[in-house]
Structures are given as C-alpha cells and as structure tokens.
Symmetry: C2
Subunit: 190 residues, 2 copies
C-alpha cells in the first residue's frame, strides 16, 4: 500500500538489531487515517471471504483491528498476552516465542468468542518470524473456526515468518513488504 | 449514552469482587459500532476543546482511542504498561496502582509524542479508583501539555475515582455511570 510504504520511508527508523521503529504512526502513536486506509485495503482484499471476526493480539494489534472491524462490519477479538502458562479453563491458549525479548509467553482468548461458525481474519502490525500469527491460528483451530487469512501491516519478507505462515495454508496479505533494511537506515520494499 | 447502558444491561455480568464483566463487547471482544458511537459522543462533548491528541493506556483503551481518533481527526497515543520501574530517558513515566491486581506498575510514553502545544483528551474504558487516569494526567503534565478532559466509557460512580479526577480539575465525561451493582447481578445507572 503506497500510503504505508511512504510513511515507513519518511518516518520509520532502522535501529541496530534488525528493528524497524514505526512508533510515530503505527504502534505507539496512532495515525487514524492510516489505520482507516489499512482497514479499507484489507476489506477489499478479503471482500469475498465471508469474514465474521477479526482476531489479533495485544497490544499493538488492538487499535488496528478495531478500526478494521468498522470496515468489515464484524467484531474484533484481541488475544491477551501473559507471562504465566497457567490458564483458566474457559480460554483457549497457545504458547508464543518472542524473538525480540527471547522469552515465551502465552496468548489466550475466551472460548465464548471463537466458534466453529467463525470465519476469522488474523490481524497484526508486524510479520517477522510468524510466531504471533501461528499462535493466533492455533487459538482459531482449537475453537474449530476457519482462518480465511491474515492482514498484516508490515512484513519483513527477508525473515522466515511469511513463508512459514503461507506454508501453513494461510493467505497472507501484507500492506508493506520489506525486502531489506540497510545498516545506513535504508529500507527496500519488495 | 443509551446504547452503552443497554449493552451493559443486556450483556454485562456482575461478578464477585465488584467486577463488571463487559468483555463480550468492550474489552476483549470489540463491538466496532459501539466504539464508533462512543467516539462520536465524545467528539460532540469535546467539540470546542481544541483536542490535538488522545491519550490512553494499554491494553483495553487502545481500540477505543483508535476509533475515537477517527472522529477527532487527530492522533491517539497509548501509554505502555510495565512491571519494571526502570525506564529509559526518552520516556515520561508515572507509577499507577492496580487495585484489581494489588500491584504497582509503570506507565510510559515516548517524550516525542506529547508536547507543550498538545491539548489532550484522556480516554479509558473504566473509571473506578482513578489511578490510570491520574497516571495519564501525570504524563501529560510532565510534557507540559494541557489536559482538556477525560472520555470514559464506564464510570463506577460509587467508587472514589470520579470525584478524585474531577477534584484534580479534569472534566470527566463518562458515557455510562453506574450507581450500584447488586449481589443479584442487578445494575443501577445514575
């Protein structure tokens, strides 16, 4: 998506450790017009998928999914993150590894909010290793719901997540796909 | 707001420990039409306040603020929560006590995203003891920004937060104000 690529080019910052900082518009400060355009774009891409629910994970995904839900006219659900692996019986849970923090955490969603009738679009701000997305897919699978795809803002296409998630049968639509980031701060899109 | 009160009446659940569970539409599963109506209501209430930025705290506030930001035509910023009191130098921070979890946490926001020119509307899903709201006010104060008010979804008006925050000079607009919750699950609005 041109708008997102342009904002990444103009406002994104490449930091040591393969970090792309986009917190001035995507995941700390929120540009609502960007979110709106992203929601509209995913709605066009998944117009024929019969989406009944958006599923994301806290924290950065929540605002993106809430605005996208306006376009889809369906609810959004955000999975909660916890350091504890003890979960109550009324939630689905999955373990997710964070490469950024080098730690595991548990994502949970109340069983009441994912049903076998649901056709779920996964939503997240970043796709890198695919851990979060595979965790969300696991929650949907446990509920017997159908995953129709994933709407991603920024995919680091040089990392293995995209291939991994697509190999799992998920249609991934990333609005900006980064081919490489240079030590000089340069960003090349696919 | 009639829509919110109606949803609380129909879908809210009163649980032991003064808990009002509204996670089927407000803070786990998200009803985007409700969020949209809430954003519109706050925009009407604060139409003349010259709001330049919405400020909330993760996680439940993020989606609400993102959708409201569409109505205000300004960015939203979400403060991050951390268990650690060690914060880097480029953030404002405030300590917030959680009565629900009986623990302290630190809320932080990057200094870059709150400026003395900002006229800030605080946004949150609940107002009970006022701890989160006072923490957000502290972040805005540290930045030299002006707090024009607080847009709250549900205020537990029988708890001290509303009085405390109003006594601090903040105009609070709560879309549903709960006067009491009974052990039988009944909910009475102000």
């Amino acid at each position: 998506m041109e708008l997102l690529e342009q904002m990444i080019r103009e406002k994104g910052r490449v930091l040591p450790g393969d970090i792309l900082r986009v917190d001035s518009f995507l995941n700390h400060q929120i540009d609502p017009n960007l979110y709106d355009a992203m929601g509209r774009a995913w709605k066009q891409l998944f117009a024929d998928s019969g989406v009944t629910k958006l599923l994301t994970v806290e924290a950065s995904g929540i605002g993106i999914a809430a605005v996208a839900a306006l376009h889809f006219g369906c609810p959004a659900v955000f999975a909660k993150k916890s350091r504890s692996s003890n979960v109550p019986g009324d939630v689905w849970s999955a373990k997710v590894h964070s490469y950024t923090r080098d730690t595991d955490f548990t994502v949970t969603v109340a069983k009441a909010y994912l049903t076998p009738a649901d056709r779920i679009l996964l939503i997240d701000d970043f796709l890198a290793n695919g851990e979060a997305l595979m965790g969300l897919k696991s929650l949907a699978d446990q509920a017997g719901a159908t995953v129709v795809g994933a709407g991603i803002a920024i995919e680091k296409a040089y990392q293995p997540g995209g291939e991994r998630v697509r190999a799992a049968g998920i249609r991934v639509e990333s609005l900006a796909r980064i081919a490489s980031m240079g030590a000089d701060g340069s960003i090349t899109f696919c």
